[in-house]
């Protein structure tokens, strides 16, 4: 039980870290990494808090997480498909505000 709580706390911290990265970075790939790590954190909270039962983890929580993992890869795939098309159209995959474009966010 204590280790379940430990994983849930780790999940909460991962969400906060991922959120910070999502807001600080502008490069699309970095944002997608952050999104996926945040997702992992949420899943850790979901399973860690789920009411446990026997030697197997809560089956409903497991099913929800499986669904969540598939949804996350679908979102990542869609974002990258859009980004490839944007890249080809000459756009910039760093989605920063136009006024701050002279800064390179990865060189701070």
């Amino acid at each position: 039980m204590t280790s379940a709580l430990g994983y849930a706390i780790a999940g909460a911290l991962l969400v906060a870290m991922g959120l910070a990265a999502m807001l600080l970075h502008h490069h699309l790939v970095r944002r997608l990494i952050a999104f996926n790590i945040m997702g992992g954190g949420v899943f850790l909270v979901l399973l860690g808090l789920a009411p446990g039962h026997g030697e197997q983890a809560d089956p409903v929580a497991q099913a929800l997480i499986l669904t969540g993992i598939v949804v996350a890869v679908a979102a990542t795939g869609l974002a990258l498909a859009l980004a490839r098309r944007l890249h080809q159209a000459g756009g910039d995959v760093r989605l920063d505000h136009p006024s701050s474009r002279e800064d390179d966010d990865d060189q701070k």
Binding site: I9, A20, L23, L49, G54, A74, G77, A81
Partner: protein, 213 residues
């Protein structure tokens, strides 16, 4: 200005993190009655693995919508054609090719195995599809080709929607017979789930593969 914004973000996220940890630590959970309900109804679900029972029977509607979500990315990607698909370039790496020659048939077997044991143990359509998609990626890397040439994106369409279509068909059938949506008769549940999962394996593998550039 920018530094201030960064500090604000870091401070804000620290507060968020503390609030989340506070919430996680202090949640008082109830008795696990839902997990008990799952084990109680497992006998009627047509499978003996509780996670598969939840995914494809008790909460099958979620899974159906999730498969629809999975369909969106390939459809949108197809609607935004890139000018010229990069010509397939086979890496003439003998090691990779030898690896593919061994690993691809093994992955195929593994996918079938995962699909079949999903009824009783960890596994199922999603895992099988991921393995299958991985095999396709490896094949592409090693030989420069994966799907047969005649299977053009247009012709892939029926395969892409097969899983969802089977899901819908079973749902319609159960409604038209006067039952609940996706309410399988217990005697048929195992077969129905296997049919749906087989379709899902192929469709999801193709959808995952199509996410790859």
């Amino acid at each position: 200005m920018r530094v201030v914004a960064h500090r604000l973000i870091v401070a804000g996220c620290t507060v968020v993190g503390l609030a989340l940890v506070y919430a996680v630590v202090n949640v008082q959970g109830p008795a696990p009655d839902l997990a008990l309900a799952v084990s109680g109804a497992l006998a009627e679900s047509g499978v003996s693995h509780p996670v598969t029972a939840v995914l494809l029977n008790f909460r099958a509607y979620d899974t159906l919508l999730e498969v629809a979500v999975m369909l969106v990315a390939p459809l949108v990607a197809a609607a935004l054609p890139t000018t010229a698909p990069a010509p397939a370039k086979p890496t003439n790496d003998p090691v990779l090719q030898a690896l593919a020659a061994v690993a691809v048939p093994l992955a195929l077997l593994l996918a079938i195995y995962l699909l079949l044991i999903g009824a009783s143990r960890s596994g199922g359509a999603f895992h099988a599809a991921a393995v299958l998609a991985g095999a396709l990626v490896l094949l592409q890397l090693a030989t420069g080709r994966s799907l047969p040439a005649w299977l053009t994106p247009t012709r892939q369409q029926p395969l892409l929607i097969l899983g969802l279509a089977l899901f819908c068909a079973v749902g319609w059938l159960s409604l038209l017979l006067g039952g609940y949506f996706l309410g399988y008769p217990p005697a048929w549940a195992g077969v129905m789930i296997l049919v749906i999962e087989s379709g899902l394996t192929l469709s999801l593998a193709l959808a995952l593969w199509r996410l790859m550039p």
